[in-house]
């Protein structure tokens, strides 16, 4: 466990390289004749290896923020850089490629392909990346083991519980070793116990690989797992709180 503590220290003190820079981002939706301001004027820097939690009620703009950083939406105004690359300027084809290489996604509703097995679902990002079958099968198998679903290789999503499906979702997001992982309400569909298990799994795996994790949630308990908690309200950042994240060891031991 000393490894883990060292890791945290490293995270917060030494490795302060900005990875994501959001500058004066504004997003306005048009709903018929009415304008809806989803994000007013948001600026934020996220460092490599950080675990950041965005807290906010529904409609606060937290999901819009996530979508824009992931390149799924373009800001009305402002700039977003990831590792120096101007995400707001890339066209759809380029941003897709960028996502394929650098970003993993975990969804609230898991969004697994119903016709594919657990193994195949995990392999999907690798398939899109054009990785050959032998190699990707090994990677997917290792991942399946890491999320504790060894033996579930050939199960279809319909044959698994919500928690198990989300584990497959996590494995799928992490299998390509992306630099950044986005999780949009990852535990929204899970009960309290499963939530704890799944969160621990995500956080541990992300820390092991020194990846950056961005979680969007309305569940305050999730915030405990983060290095930085960003509260969003009505399209603006209300406050940013840096903290020592919950020591997972305490509960585990």
């Amino acid at each position: 466990m000393s490894d883990l503590k060292n890791h945290i220290k490293q995270d917060t003190k030494i490795d302060r390289k900005p990875l994501i820079e959001v500058k004066n981002v504004r997003k306005v939706y048009r709903m018929g004749d009415e304008k809806v301001i989803a994000l007013d004027n948001v600026s934020l820097t996220i460092y490599k290896g950080e675990i950041v939690c965005f807290l906010g009620t529904s409609g606060s703009g937290k999901s819009t923020f996530l979508n824009m950083v992931a390149g799924l939406e373009k800001p009305t105004r402002g700039e977003i850089f990831i590792g120096g690359i101007p995400i707001h300027k890339l066209n759809e084809a380029k941003i897709t490629l960028f996502r394929q290489k650098n970003i993993g996604f975990i969804f609230q509703a898991y969004h697994l392909m119903t016709m594919l097995t657990a193994m195949e679902n995990i392999s999907l990002p690798l398939i899109f990346g054009g990785i050959e079958k032998k190699k990707r099968n090994k990677m997917a198998k290792d991942m399946l083991k890491a999320v504790g679903l060894k033996g579930y290789e050939n199960r279809k999503p319909s044959q698994m519980s919500g928690g198990q499906q989300q584990r497959v979702g996590i494995a799928r997001a992490l299998v390509g070793k992306p630099k950044i992982i986005f999780a949009d309400e990852p535990t929204g569909n899970l009960d309290t116990n499963t939530t704890k298990e799944v969160m621990k799994l995500i956080v541990n795996m992300v820390m092991d690989n020194n990846q950056t994790l961005i979680i969007v949630t309305h569940d305050r308990s999730i915030a405990d797992y983060a290095d930085k908690v960003v509260t969003i309200q009505d399209g603006n950042i209300l406050n940013v709180k840096e903290q020592n994240k919950k020591d997972m060891c305490k509960e585990e031991c």
Partner: protein, 442 residues
């Protein structure tokens, strides 16, 4: 995303909605069948026409007639065109012409023992007869150096009769003579071996010992009723006969009356005919007929193919509909794929591939069924179909339906392309789908 994975995913997606895929495939099957079967009937018709006309004679041959020095039509530089050796040499040089020979004919009596037969003898240059591509049933064709040598059509041996026992030619199933081994003489004497009418009693016709060296194979065309000898010999017999009958000597020859031309490639026959007509001669060939019949066949084929085409068009609409439905169903899935890293082109390829596969599989099954139907039409249904088509097109032959290999391949390619085209719009739509919108769609 590599092609194998693309293919695997495509198949799975198709299998996932079996009923709908099945129905879309059936649409293509029906369309392909309609086109292929309809076209095959057209090809069958066309082949039957050809078969029919070929039975009347050789499609490669063109007959040439000089205008006999008459002033009608045939003029060349102001002078009437003369079909002489020079003209024949010029005809031989026309592109597509394999061989040409002047043609003289004379009506002679053939005699073997007590059996005789009256028939026309055609004089040809012996050296070109082989190029005319006559098929032999027995023996050989005329060749250079032949003199009193004959090749005859296979109906002539059946025409020999004994004049003492019967009046005129009497058809028999079995030849009474063996033309190749028996000794034969020919003469211009029409009444050889019979009593002559009084006014011809004094004429003494020459008799020529002649060797028959070959019998032609085709029993249907006009060569079956012709005998062929070297041109010079026929001319010599003509002169002898004129002398014997004390006809006034003809003025210096103005050329031949007829000639024959052999064209190796059937498609050149028309051009060659036109070129010869431009020289001031008249031509006739069975190909002229064939052309007009073929035009009829093409028209019928066009109508039949068009009907088939409509069904394939409807099938294409079916594919498009299937694919659009599939996009609605898979909106969320497409969004997820985009978010987790599917390239835009991958998404498009996936949908195109699925649509293309529906087209290809439908086309393949359609072809198999088409071949089965074609086989049935040519065997079990041959009589019924033949009669029905005979009424439309006038005349039918042994085969009702023919599927050439290129039509089979073409139909398969066409159905696949139809599938791809039908899938193009849905694929584009899937590609353009906003990832975010799709994810919200729950």
């Amino acid at each position: 995303m590599n092609n194998r994975d693309l293919f695997g995913l495509g198949i799975r997606n198709l299998l996932r909605r079996k009923t709908r895929t099945f129905l879309a495939v059936i649409g293509v099957v029906v369309g392909t069948c309609a086109i292929v079967v309809m076209l095959s009937i057209g090809f069958g018709l066309s082949a039957n026409f050809q078969e029919q006309i070929e039975s009347y004679g050789n499609l490669h041959l063109i007959d040439i007639y000089s205008n006999g020095g008459m002033m009608m039509g045939g003029m060349n530089n102001g002078k009437p065109a003369v079909l002489d050796d020079k003209a024949i040499a010029a005809i031989e040089k026309i592109e597509g012409v394999d061989a040409a020979s002047p043609k003289e004919s004379i009506y002679l009596t053939f005699a073997i023992g007590k059996y005789i037969c009256n028939n026309e003898v055609i004089g040809l240059r012996p050296e070109v007869m082989q190029k005319f591509n006559y098929e032999l049933q027995d023996g050989r064709l005329l060749r250079t150096g032949d003199k009193y040598t004959m090749v005859m059509g296979n109906q002539i041996p059946l025409m020999f009769f004994n004049p003492k026992k019967s009046q005129g030619n009497e058809w028999s199933d079995e030849p009474k003579v063996d033309v190749i081994t028996n000794k034969m003489i020919i003469t211009a004497d029409e009444y050889y071996g019979q009593k002559r009418p009084k006014d011809e009693e004094k004429i003494t016709y020459k008799e020529y010992k002649t060797k028959c060296v070959g019998v032609l194979a085709n029993p249907n065309d006009d060569s079956a009723y012709s005998a062929f000898m070297p041109l010079d010999i026929v001319k010599a017999i003509e002169q002898d006969t004129a002398r014997a009958e004390k006809e006034p000597k003809k003025s210096k020859s103005t050329g031949y009356e007829n000639a024959m031309v052999y064209v190796g490639n059937i498609n050149d026959v028309e051009d060659v005919s036109n070129a010869i007509r431009d020289m001031g001669f008249q031509t006739s060939s069975l190909n002229d007929w064939l052309k007009s019949m073929q035009e009829t066949a093409n028209m019928i084929q066009g109508i039949l193919g068009g009907i088939g085409g409509i069904s394939l068009f409807v099938a294409a609409l079916g594919i498009t509909n299937t694919m659009i439905m599939s996009i609605y169903e898979r909106t969320k899935e497409i969004g997820v794929m985009k978010v987790i890293g599917a390239n835009l082109t991958d998404i498009r390829k996936m949908f195109l591939l699925e649509a293309g596969m529906i087209g290809f599989i439908g086309g393949l099954i359609g072809l198999i069924i088409s071949f089965t139907l074609s086989l049935l039409m040519n065997t079990v249904l041959s009589e019924v179909m033949g009669q029905a088509l005979g009424e439309i097109a006038g005349g039918y032959g042994s085969t009702v339906s023919i599927i050439p290999w290129w039509v089979a391949l073409g139909a398969l390619g066409f159905s696949t392309i139809i599938g791809l085209l039908a899938g193009y719009y849905p694929a584009k739509r899937a590609m353009r789908l906003s990832a975010l919108e799709s994810l919200r769609n729950e």
